[in-house]
């Protein structure tokens, strides 16, 4: 299945600015379905990982406060052209998604 992560990475000097947008519904588990009145089960990203050439540089432990379709950006020092960046997440239901991009 195609990745539901979008990424834009810009390199200036040795600092890479990485912006990502991830498609993910965000349910806290406290919302009720408007039609049935039943609680919508909790479903959100629990861990977001960013690796550079296989080495983790960002590991974010997220909870129910994470946004729906979260946007995440960061700046990484010591980056250079040709570095492989991988963004991946795991959610509380065990689903995962990832995307690799090469800095250039």
């Amino acid at each position: 299945m195609a990745s539901k992560i979008k990424v834009k990475a810009k390199l200036s000097g040795d600092i890479a600015e990485i912006k990502t947008l991830m498609l993910h519904p965000m349910e806290t588990g406290a919302r009720k379905d408007p039609d049935t009145g039943a609680l919508v089960p909790m479903h959100h990203i629990t861990q977001l990982t960013l690796t550079k050439n296989g080495e983790p540089i960002v590991v974010a432990n997220l909870s129910t406060a994470v946004a729906k379709n979260p946007y995440f950006s960061c700046k990484v020092r010591g980056a250079k052209a040709g570095d492989t960046l991988k963004i991946s997440w795991v959610d509380n239901l065990g689903a995962t998604d990832e995307l690799e991009t090469v800095l250039g």
Partner: protein, 279 residues
């Protein structure tokens, strides 16, 4: 804004309406655009398509940042899939319209003389589905809004050219009904659309600055950060009407379709730039 300036603006708006009642749609449109250009002489006409971002520099800066990674991108992709998806009879939605996809947004809203009413893009999409024995999409469903977001995106750069033909029986009446709705006070707060979006443009309501109606229809549907989802122009009508504590009309009611018709005509000459991103 000083009291004198506000009074002047109100008198100007009243004169505008009275003069407009005696003139046709094109005279109305020219007077409408002239009013905003006199209120904001430093803003080029084309810039009004950006709504509040044309007049609020802080909001504009935030908008330019969010546009680096537009939150409506996912909706455009969903809409494209819906548009080209094969329906049970093998055709797709595009086959109903028989026009290049980038032109479809520009064809609506339009007055359909044979039906005697304004037809909007959403109504036309559902007409297509019903003709192919498919259930219509809800007017507030993400499926419908994603489809119109895709069509809005494809039409970016096209100039809005809504037509109110004097030859079409009812077109002028529908336009006038939309115009009357726009200038009619309603709700517990007793506001007309014009009270906020003509007289009080640039002023604050709580933490938001009021945008001009000139340019409103060009950038819909919009992604609303507040809701984390997309909404249509008519959902915004319903929201505004709720905000003045009146009972909203149904989506795609004759009142909203006539209002959409009037507003699109008022923004003729501006470039389409949907879908948009708003607070």
């Amino acid at each position: 804004m000083t009291k004198a300036a506000a009074a002047f603006g109100s008198i100007f708006a009243i004169l505008l309406v009275q003069q407009a009642a005696l003139a046709g749609p094109e005279e109305d449109r020219a007077a409408f655009a002239a009013y905003y250009q006199s209120r904001f002489p430093d803003i080029p006409f084309a810039e009004f398509a950006n709504g509040i971002y044309a007049i609020d520099s802080d909001a504009r800066a935030q908008w330019l940042e969010i546009e680096e990674f537009p939150p409506y991108e996912f909706a455009i992709e969903v809409g494209e899939a819906i548009w080209s998806e094969a329906l049970p009879d093998g055709s797709s939605l595009g086959d109903c319209f028989q026009q290049p996809v980038e032109d479809i947004r520009t064809l609506f809203p339009r007055f359909d003389a044979s039906r005697g009413e304004v037809v909007t893009l959403e109504v036309a999409i559902n007409d297509c589905r019903v003709a192919r024995d498919l259930p219509p999409l809800g007017y507030d469903s993400q499926a419908m809004i994603s489809t119109t977001a895709y069509l809005a995106f494809e039409a970016r750069g096209k100039i809005l050219e809504t037509r109110v033909s004097g030859n079409q029986l009812g077109a002028l009446a529908a336009y006038e009904a939309g115009k009357r709705f726009y200038y009619t006070k309603r709700g517990q707060l007793n506001f007309a659309c014009a009270d906020c979006h003509v007289t009080s443009v640039g002023q604050y309501v709580r933490a938001d600055r009021l945008s001009a109606s000139l340019g409103h229809p060009t950038h819909f549907p919009v992604y609303r950060s507040k809701l984390g989802t997309m909404i249509s122009l008519q959902q915004r009508f319903a929201g505004c009407i709720r905000d003045v504590r009146a009972k909203p009309f149904e989506l795609q009611s004759v009142e909203y379709r006539n209002l959409e018709y009037f507003l699109n005509y008022m923004s003729n000459g501006l470039e389409l730039n949907g879908p948009g991103a708003r607070k």
